[in-house]
Structure formats: C-alpha cells, structure tokens
Amino acid sequence: MSAAVKERSREEYKAQEERLRTVWANPTGWRYWTSVNNFQIGLWYGSAAFTFMLFAGALALLMRLQLAVPDNDFLSADFFNQAFTLHGTVMMFLFAVPIFEAVAIFLLPPMLGAREMPFPRLGAFSFWSFFLGGIFVCGSIFFNAAPSSGWFMYPPLATDKELSGIGADIWLLGLSFIEVASIAAAVELIVGIMKCRAPGMRINLMPLFAWYLLIVAGMILFAFPPLIAGDLLFEMERMFDWPFFDAARGGDPLLWQHLFWIFGHPEVYIIFLPAIALVAMIVPTFSQRPIVGYSWIVLAAVGTGFLSFGLWVHHMFATGLPQISLAFFSAASEAVAIPTGVQIFVFIATMLAGRVIFSTPMLFGAGGLAIFVIGGLTGVMVALAPFDWQAHDTYFVVAHLHYVLIGGMLFPVVAGLYYYYPLIDAKKLSDRLGRLAFWLMFCGFNIAFFPMHLSGLRGMPRRVFIYPAEIGWDWLNLISTAGAFIFAAGVLVVVFDALRPKHRQPRGELNPWNAGTLEWISEPKENWGVRSIPIVRSRYPLWDQKDLARKINEGRYYLPDAEEGWREGLVTSVLDAEPIQVLRVGGTSHVTIVSALSLGAAFIALTFHWWIATALAAITCFCAVLYWLWTGTAEIPEKPEKDVGLGLSLPLYASGPDSVGWWAMFITMMGDGTAFASLVFGYFFYWTIHADFTAGIAGPDGAWSLAAAAMFAAAWALMVAARMFNRRNATAATRGLLVLSLLTTVGASAAGLAGPWSPGMDPTRHVYPAIVWILVLWVLAHAAVGTVMQAYCLARSLAGRLTPKHDIDLCNVVLYWHFLLIAAVITFTIIGLFPAAM
C-alpha cells in the first residue's frame, strides 16, 4: 500500500470518528439535562435511587432510636407511622426497582455491543417521571402529610379519609406515576435485549445479566398492572366514594390484598433477580473462568420468574381463605426454593472450578448470598401456613424480609457498585474503604436483624411504636438499634468512597478486573457506546476474541460512521442475532422532560383535587406526547437502504412485526391487558363472595351492551381493512376507512355508555354498579385513545408521513385495535349476559 493511500485512509478514519462523536455528543450547560444518552440517564437514575435509599435509611434510624428503649417518647405515634410507611414504600418503589432499571439502562447497551437502548427518549421520560414522583412522595413527610397506613395500604384503614388523610392519595397517585415509569423501562429492556444485540450474539452467547433482565422485564409486565388496576379502584373509592373495598356496600377489602400481592410477591423477585444477575457477572470475572452451568442459570431465572406468580396468597395466610387455597400457594412457595437454590450452587461450582480472587465486589457478593440464604430458610418456614399463623405480622417477618432484601439485593448492588464503578471514569473505588464498609455492613446487619427473629418469636408485633419494659423485648431491641447504626456507618463509608474527589487518582486501564464481557470495552470519555458494532463469537468475547477491542476501536466493524448525522444502531434477529435493519434512535430533546413533568403535574394536581390544574397539565402532556410522536417517530428515511460496513447493506425502515415500535406496542398492550384482566378478576371476585352479587340492582341493558360489542368489532374490521388498502396503494380508500372506523368507534362508545346508563346504575350505591361502570369506563377510555390514533394516522397520511410503503403508524394502531377489540368484546358480553345467565 502506498503512503498516500495510507495517509488518506487515516484522514478518513479521523473524519469518521469526529462525525460519530458529534452525533453522540451531549449538549453543554444547562441543556446537559436534556440528554437522553443511556450513560447519563443510567447515572442519574442510579444516583437518584441511591439518594432516595439514604433518605429511607435515615427514617429507619429514627425508628430504631424510638424502639431502642421501652416507653420511649422520641417520636410521636403518627410520625412513626409515617416513617415506617415511607421507609417501606421508598425502599421498594424508589430504590429497589428503579436501581435495577438504572443499572440496566447504564450497562445493557455496551454489554450487548449496542450503541443505545432502542427507545432512548422513553428511557429519559421514565427517569424524569420517576424523579418527580419520588420527590413528591418523599417530600410529603416534611409537611406531615406522608402516607401512614403501611407500605401495602390495606383498606379499610387506608380508605378511611379521617384516619389516613391525604397521605394515602399521595401514595396512590405518586406510585401509579412511578409504575408507569417501570412499565416504560420494561418495554425498553425487552425490545433492547431481544432485538438490539450485536451481530453474532446468539441467545446461547448472551451475557447472563441480559437473560435475567429479560425475565425481570417480562415479570414487570404482568406484575405491575394488577397494582395499577388496584390503585384505580382504590382512588375511585377515595375520590368518588365508589365502594370497591367497603364491606357495608358489597365491597371487600380482601380484593385489594389480592391485587396488591399479585404485584407484591413477584416484586420481591423483580428486585432479587437483577441483583443476582450482577453476581452472575462478578463471579466468573473473579473466578477467571466462564460460568459453570449457563443453562442452569437460565432455568433458574425463567423458573423463578414463573413460580413467583404462584406465591401471592402466602401474604394472606391469616385472612381466612379455604385451606386448600392456602395449600396451593404454600406448595408453590416451597417449589420456588428449587430454582433459587440452583443459582447459589452454580456460583459455588464456578468458584470451585476457577481460581478465586477475593476482591471487594466478591466479598459483598458472597456476604450478601450468605445473608440471603438465611432469609431464604426463614422464608421456607413462613411459607408453611401453620408456622405463618404464629409468626404473621411479628418482627420475625420483619427479620425475614430484611434478610432476603438486604442479602439478596443491597449487598449485590454494592458489589456491583464496586465492580462497575471504573466504567464511570476509569477509576476504581478504594479497596481498603470497601473492605471496611463490608465488615461494618455485614456485622451491623446481623447485629440489627438477627435479634428481630427472637423478638418476633417473643410476640413483638411489627409497626408498634412503643412497648412496655417488662415483657422481655427491651435488650433485643437495644441490640438491634446498635446494629442498625453500625450498618449505617458501613453505608456511609460506601457513600464517602463513591463521592470523594478522585482527580488526583490517575485513570486506570479500561478493563481493570480482566473481565470477559463487552461492557468493559466502552471508553468512559466517549459517548457513543462502541466505536463500531462488533461481531460476537463467544460468551466472553474479551477473553476469547483476542483482537476484538483493537478492531472495535479502529472502526473495523459495523456502523463506524454517522455520515447522515443520525444516531444509529443495528436491529438483529431474536435467536441468532443476524443483522436485519439499521435503527435510527431519537437524540437529545426537551420533549421527554416536558411530557414527564406535565404528566407528573397532572397526578399531583389530582391528589389535591385541583381539577382545572389537572386538566391543564393533562392537556399539556397530551400535546407534548403528540409532538414527540409526530416529530420523532416513524420518520421516513431519505433512502431505503444504507451501507453499514463489511460489505453489508441494510434497510433503514421496517414496519409491522419487523419493527421495534410494533414490539413496543405489543409489550405495552400485554401489560395493559393484564390490568384489564385484573378488573375482570374483580368482577368475578364480587360474584363469588355474594349469594346475589347484583344486590337486586338492575344490570346494564343487554341489547345496548351487545350492540356496543358488535360496533367495536366493526370498527376493528374497518381498521384491518384500512391497513390492507393502504398496502395496496389505495390511499383514498384508506383515509375513508379510517374516518368510517372513527365514527363507528364513537357510536360504539355511546352504545357502551347507554348500557349501564339507561337503567340508572349508581356506582356509589353498591359495588355491583361500581365494578360494571369501571369496566365500561376502561373500555371507553381505551376507545378514546383509539380514536386519537385513528385521527393521527389520518393526519399522517394527509401529511405524506404515512405511505403505502411506510406504514409503521398504521400497523401499530391496528395492533392496538386487536387488544381493544378483545377488551370490548369481553367487557360487553360479561356485563350484558353474565348476570342473566346466573
């Protein structure tokens, strides 16, 4: 090769690099906060969650001070109630779940060899929603308005406005808002893991972290929606007096317990699995060998994910359900110990087979697992109904759940912090401080929580703010308090280590632990994730593909350039990760912040019943989301294909099941469908608990209901036809069908409304009209969204942004209509026919 050619290619390489850097660059100044890059969002998300954790930890220390000695008057009863409620709520909803979303958003793209998550703006939206909702919920305690009925908000205490005040509304609305953020994150994770892996990363080569996260995201989709449905019923009762949980008018507080724990128990595993996923990355690195039993870990992750949905009633063993029901759940609770144990044995086997380096992350990982195993064993005890009847609502359960959560989640997360900290700025945390922190936390934890088993067995109920001296709880509580402060000291050492200025510390090497997975290739100073998207041929590419790092950084693989000025990544096939499309993702934008803040404002205004403010905020949010969709999604590319390097040319546009947007809609609607199923469950639940669940009230008019179902089916058929005609270039017919479908939908909604309206069903009178109304309103709200989508497609078609070849919007809307059809048909046939059939 001549020197001139070499020189030209060097220049070309520099130019490529510069273009790529510019496209992925962060804005500066205050606009920095409009960044949507996964690196920044992950960091903000994690820092916010960690801060909320410290806040909730401080509340715990206040409680421990109050309980240190008998007959203490340090805190008032009401403040104590607020403190334990907020402690549980914040730890669960604002720390344990979001921290994993943070870690996932931060780590997954580089780990999968991708540049970004498929929907970076959705990730940013999720963060801002979480941040605002979190501040709102936490801030309430400074106004003496925090929720005070316990983190699971049992009615009738929490539905009583006199006893629970505005705190319960803050809990319901603040957390519903955060649940939306979690579901958004789940959509992002599933699509990211399934469709955006580096070429060649077949599912048998996927990092275990990704396997775990895939399962967890799936679990979120089926676990969070029942709680959203429950929140809806709860808030309707508090705001409009619809008696879902009021026994006097046919309601039942137990329905809340079912809906809460259908969410609440999988939640434990939603928290645990990502933490154990971190351990699954750390153990091979410090054993310097591949994991032993990769398939067994997949078994454990998938098995736990499923079984965890068969456990919820073990929180309700003391509620008087038939013993056979209790026994089913007891059996499943014992069965889940099998996959959980498998993972522990896999880790032990990996350590035995390799040469273990006992670093700080390993210390936290191993210490956490030891604690977790103790919590798991007490879990097997309380999963037995007769033992649970003795231990229920005592400190034994408090000890159990802290052993599980701190051992299974907090310790692994700190292990992950020590392990992954160099990714932030190529600087390690201090090994000495790390070991000090570990021993303080490990000893402090056991000193604090082990005695709680004993105080529980001695009969100390959870949530008491005071106890007398002579019943034998005093010295156990004093020890617990001392341990809590030792534990807190350990946490503070971690915080100090993470925050202390490190500018004198030199930057270290890129892969300081000699790990084998791809995330260790990304350079902290660059924002592009990977310089070029590699071809992966191993589970541990950095160990097995020797020149991989060099070739990636020399831009020898896919998409080393950004010549059209877009942020681009690859979409690959699910099983074998063959490249199929170039995905252009959204860049820096204000619209995510505006949407999240206005949605948050709507929820907050609703809490205080400021109706006009709620309406204004909701309209702002609606407009922001429409603007976001119109300007940032389903863009028609300037050319059909582009050269991605290595002689490969890929399409820039795909619609239907080939597109990531279609999958996002499908996944969202699965979650939405689960929430709907929870409401239907409520309907039949009320049927089972009453001899006549209609209480003699005339039900919705059958003819109107069936007419509504039929018209929704017609509207759906018109939508399917519109998609078909659009593909056949019949644009005018497409537009006509869209208008016709929209009008049919409006008619169907009117008919649906007439069903319960014509017999004058009053939702405040009894639970039967209330549950009928809520089902009808659910469908009508979805129909309203459906009409907006129809109008949007029409506008896109008129604006030339929806064409016969570029029909992402229409495909996604038709998919939405499939789900709407199912919901409408189920709702109107049940409410119209079921009471008569009984």
Partner: protein, 126 residues
Amino acid sequence: MRLIPKQIETLWTLFTAPVVWAAHFLVCYIGAAVYCAKPELVGLSFNAVRAGIAAVTVIALSLIALSAWLAWRQWGFGTDDPPHDDPTRRDRTLFQGLATLLLSGLSFIAVIFTAMPALFLTECIR
C-alpha cells in the same frame, strides 16, 4: 396428520412447560376457590373437586412430558455435552433444548407440588 410436532425455530418453546404449570395452577386455584365459595353452584361433592384436580394434573404432567421429549430431541437426545457456547446455529439449538428440558423438569416437580394438597384435604375448611 403427524402426532409429534416438527422442530420449530422460536424462542417461545422455552416457556412451554412453565406455561403449563401456570395454567394448571390457575385451574386448581380458581376451581377450588369457586367451589368453596359457591358449593351449591354445581352440586358436586369436594371429592369431585379432588378428582378434577387429579385429572388436570395428569393432563398437565402429560403435556410437560411431551414438552420435555421435544426438548430432548432439540438437545440432540443428549449426544453433546454442555456448555454449548460455540457461535453456531447448532449449539444455539442444543442450548435451547437443554434449557427447555431443565425447565420441563422443574415444572413437572412444581405441578406435583401444587397437586399434593388435594391428596390430604377433604373439605373446604377455613
């Protein structure tokens, strides 16, 4: 018509056995709960409920056994040993087969666990 399905290229088969477990669990739980809430509805004895649970358990176990056999076939009838970490379509398929087989085993045990209460409980006591 072939009795045994052809091998297909999809991720979803991985979840067959756990889905059967979930369906079995729901049928048992809902069936027993509705019976105990409204025993007059069908006019059968609790022993009929137990027989029903036995029947769905046999069906569920058979389906899981079938899923296990298909997984075993996908795993090449165990001719290759794990870790199945070569970057080939063949190793990816073998991995899927093994993972599906393991999940079938777990689901089989879990279904038996779920059915066991029906052996011991003879009425709807609360």
